[in-house]
């Protein structure tokens, strides 16, 4: 593949991000453990973060005149903060769920089904 032969650019970051994203989605889809699902979410979010940073980086761009500034970095910072908050809330839910059901198997959390 010519990716390997070329210098590191946006595409390489995108590939990393895609791998992270796919791993995260697979993790979410297959894990029955709520903690595992949370981990998958973290992977998905970080895959997205990699993309933001990559698109925004001045070092990786060829058209220097159309800089995006720090937008990508800032968005990824937001995402990190949101992820932390989300993790806190999700963990609290998980703990409460465990208190009530003595398990954190997401397949058994189907009480809201139609």
């Amino acid at each position: 593949m010519d990716l390997l032969s070329q210098p590191v650019g946006v595409s390489h970051y995108l590939v990393v991000g895609a791998i992270l994203f796919i791993s995260g989605v697979v993790c979410m889809a297959v894990k029955r453990n709520a903690i595992g699902v949370l981990m998958g979410i973290e992977l998905v979010l970080n895959g997205a973060n990699v993309n933001f940073v990559a698109f925004s980086s001045n070092f990786l761009r060829s058209d220097q005149g159309h800089s995006l500034g720090l937008d990508g970095q800032l968005i990824s910072l937001f995402v990190i903060v949101l992820a932390a908050a989300e993790a806190a809330v999700a963990l609290a839910i998980a703990l409460n769920y465990y208190n009530n059901h003595s398990t954190i198997d997401v397949d058994r959390a189907d009480e809201l089904k139609g």
Partner: protein, 813 residues
């Protein structure tokens, strides 16, 4: 403080005291002692206070300085619009034993105090005020009413004793066969008595005809309450309704008279009132009898006032042009407006006919005996029925000669009818009731033939002896629990006080006395009436004979039925031993008023042993002298529509030629009546039953009260019932049908609307709801609740979306 200030104050207070008592008893009567016993103290205290105030006013009038200069009096009295119209001196009249002093003419108006306490409202020229008109007549009436009312209050305290506890009314049988059992209504009785006294005093003090009318109606409603006091008895409530409705008939005429006066005179006030600016506003009396008449020597002559003349000549007066005085006099000489004056007089008299129970409206008074006896004594002898006579006396200056003739005929017919009915009545109170009607006829007759003082003097004396007689009969009823004289007899041994005071009353009403020397009060008043009738006969041969014959014959009938009553009740052997054995003398609180009233019945016609030099003339203190001070100004009117009508001056009847004849005739006929009564019922040398069977048709006529009730039933009540039946049928068949069908139609329309609502609107909503529900139901299965499944779906969906976009971008242009 001069008389102009103090008299309105004192008499105003005397009017308000019973009102205060009424208000207190209405609001707190229930809590006034056990069964409201204190209410009687409150009411009696109030009326006694009013009596004291009246007595003080009397002494102020008699001994006080009435002749204060008008201006000075006014200056102090601006606050309440008082005006003293100081005209004329009180003329001296000797009554009783020395009649001979003729020749005192009262050409000038009597002294009076008129003013307004409070102005209710002013509508253009018409001023509606609460005012007063105080003259000697007012003072005399106040003293009479309050004195008799006070005694009746005391008497009622004993008579209404039963009402202090639970009462079983033996005359009312309920549907379950028991007698009515109800709580006592002691305080309510005194509450009505107080309201009644207030109304009567207000009527007497009233300074304008509108106020008179208000109190007139108040008196009517009080009599309605009091007659219907035993409201559960059908007869009592019927009698109350009858009294009220019959009085309305008279009041209707009175309103017509008031409208005629208002249209012609523009004022309701009796006397002249000086307003704050010092302008004298002429009242009714001085408008119809002007002090100065252009081209007229005889001042204070009764002439149609300008307003009435202008009204009569309205077709001849050009618009906006004020007729000249000459033109006015010409019209007046042609008797323009005279009819209006006659209508005004007849209208006012119509009210008096109703209130004073004159023919043809006399039917209510005998039925009114359903009320408790103190009520009969107060309402139906001394006060309410006296109100009509009083108003005729008060309105005397307005009455034209033709009106006076109507009054005289009404009085004469009433006198005769009622006296004859009284002969056959066996209910003790009904005898007295018809006697009252008959005596009121005397008063009206007297006023109608020109005997102003005689008529009002008879009003005063009659008030005393008739309330005495009523209270005596009440005492008898209290003792025997029956009204039927046929069950009594011999009661004088059981109840001497009642028997002998009633004897005094009978003697007084028959006019007992030694002719030309001395007599009981009724002797003087009846004597002067007969004398005036004789004097009238001399001047009017056409009408006078009837009046004289009835006045003299009435005396005989009066004496006969009164002594029939007395003998049947008190003399002879007891006819019903059950009644006789249970009879007892009434308590002291009941017979003491009888004694006091008996004293007055004897002596109220006498001169007081005082010869006073007051108001510039030496005079005896007597009721007639006082009344003489209030004699209306001017001569009696002569006939205009009936030119031969000539009312003689009342002083002419004091001439020996007339007076002696009259006295002898009146006493003679009374003696005949008395002797007949003695023959029939006293020593029983004649048998009433034989006479009864011999003159059966007359007896039937009298016992059926000349079929007046039946006549009225046929003439008035039946047609009214028929019309109301028709109207009721119309209501039921036509109006009700219309409304019913309207309702039915509305129901149909509503049903149709309901169908639309149910099948179209509701259906649409329901279908929508069902549809929504089924969609939701079918989508339910998608929501499995499996988290991982959702993630998978999201991924698959995202990928599918991506592929779709990619594909569509690739396929696109």
């Amino acid at each position: 403080m001069n008389a102009g200030d103090s008299l309105p104050l004192l008499l105003g207070l005397a009017v308000l005291l019973p009102l205060a008592s009424f208000t207190a008893i209405v609001l707190f009567g229930r809590w006034m002692g056990k069964a409201g016993i204190l209410a009687s103290y409150v009411a009696t205290g109030a009326i006694f206070g009013a009596f004291v105030l009246s007595a003080i006013s009397f002494s102020i009038w008699y001994f006080g300085d009435l002749g204060a200069p008008a201006e000075a009096a006014h200056a102090e009295a601006v606050a309440h619009d008082a005006a003293v119209v100081d005209t004329g001196h009180a003329s001296a009249v000797e009554h009783g034993t020395d009649h001979a002093n003729a020749g005192h003419h009262t050409a000038r108006p009597p002294k009076y105090f008129a003013g307004d306490w409070y102005t209710l409202g002013q509508f253009g020229k018409l001023k509606v005020t609460i005012g007063y008109h105080i003259d000697a007549l007012t003072i005399v009436m106040f003293c009479m009413v309050t004195l008799i009312a006070t005694l009746i209050h005391f008497y009622a305290f004993g008579y209404m004793h039963d009402e202090l506890h639970e009462v079983t009314d033996h005359e009312v049988t309920l549907s379950n066969g028991h007698h009515l059992h109800r709580p006592g209504r002691f305080h309510r009785f005194f509450q009505y008595l107080s309201l009644f006294c207030f109304s009567m005093l207000g009527l007497v003090v009233a300074g304008n005809i509108a106020m008179v009318f208000v109190f007139w109606e108040l008196v009517g409603i009080c009599s309605y309450f009091l007659i219907g006091f035993y409201i559960e008895r059908k007869s009592a409530s019927n009698a109350a309704n009858k009294a009220f409705i019959v009085n309305r008939v008279g009041d209707f005429g009175m309103i017509i008279g008031m409208m005629a006066l208002w249209a012609g005179l523009g004022t309701f006030t009796f006397g002249d009132i000086k307003d704050a600016k010092g302008n004298v506003q002429q009242g009714i009396f001085s408008q119809v009898r002007q002090e100065k008449i252009a081209g007229e020597g005889n001042a204070y002559r009764l002439l149609p006032p300008d307003g009435m003349v202008k009204f009569a000549a309205r077709n001849e007066i050009a618009a906006g042009v004020e007729p000249t005085p000459d033109q006015m006099n010409k019209w007046r000489d042609q008797n323009y407006g005279y009819w209006l004056l006659v209508i005004a007089g007849l209208g006012i008299f119509c009210g008096c006919v109703g209130k004073s129970a004159q023919f043809p409206l006399h039917v209510w008074l005998p039925d009114a005996m359903e009320g408790p006896t103190p009520v009969s004594a107060l309402v139906h002898s001394a006060t309410m029925v006296a109100a009509g006579v009083y108003l005729v006396g008060r309105f005397y200056p307005v009455f034209a000669a033709e009106v006076l003739l109507v009054i005289a005929y009404t009085g004469a017919i009433t006198l005769f009818l009622a006296a004859t009915i009284a002969i056959t009545a066996t209910d003790i109170k009904r005898v007295l009731a018809y006697s009252t009607v008959s005596q009121l006829g005397y008063m009206m007759l007297s006023l109608g033939v020109g005997g102003w003082v005689a008529g009002l003097f008879h009003l005063i004396t009659h008030a005393f002896f008739k309330s005495l007689l009523f209270m005596c009969s009440g005492s008898v009823i209290h003792a025997t629990h029956t009204n039927d004289m046929m069950k009594m007899g011999g009661l004088r041994k059981k109840m001497p006080w009642t028997a002998y005071t009633m004897l005094v009353g009978c003697l007084a009403i028959m006019g007992a006395g030694i002719p030309l020397l001395v007599g009981l009060s009724g002797y003087y008043s009846k004597d002067s009436i007969v004398a005036q009738a004789l004097s009238f006969w001399n001047n009017n041969p056409r009408h006078g004979a009837v009046f004289f014959a009835i006045a003299a014959g009435g005396a005989a009938i009066t004496a006969f039925y009164m002594f029939r009553l007395w003998f049947l009740t008190f003399a002879g052997e007891p006819r019903d031993h059950h009644v006789y054995d249970h009879a007892h003398e009434s308590p002291k609180v009941m017979y003491m008023p009888l004694v006091i009233l008996a004293a007055f019945a004897v002596g109220v016609g006498w001169n007081a042993p005082l010869r006073l030099n007051v108001h510039g003339a030496s005079e005896w203190l007597s009721v007639t002298a006082l009344l003489e001070q209030a004699r209306p100004a001017g001569d009696l009117p002569n006939g205009v529509l009936l030119p031969e009508l000539d009312h003689p001056d009342e002083h002419a009847s004091h001439q020996p030629t007339i007076h002696v004849v009259a006295a002898l005739v009146a006493s003679g006929t009374a003696l005949v009546g008395f002797l007949l009564a003695v023959a029939f019922y006293g020593v029983r040398i004649l048998n009433p039953n034989e006479v009864k069977s011999q003159f059966a048709w007359i007896y039937r006529l009298l016992i059926n009260k000349w079929w007046f009730d039946e006549l009225y039933r046929v003439i008035f009540i039946r047609p009214v019932m028929l019309i109301s039946q028709l109207v009721s049928n119309f209501d039921k068949k036509v109006i009700d049908w219309f409304i019913d069908s309207l309702a039915r139609w509305t129901i149909h329309v509503a049903n149709f609307d309901a169908m639309i609502d149910r099948y179209i609107v509701d259906n649409f909503v329901n279908v929508t709801a069902a549809w929504t529900w089924s969609i939701g139901n079918s989508l339910r299965s998608l929501q499995t609740g499996k988290l991982r499944q959702y993630v998978m779906l999201i991924v698959i969906g995202t990928v599918a979306l991506g592929v779709l976009i990619r594909w569509s971008v690739a396929a696109g242009p």
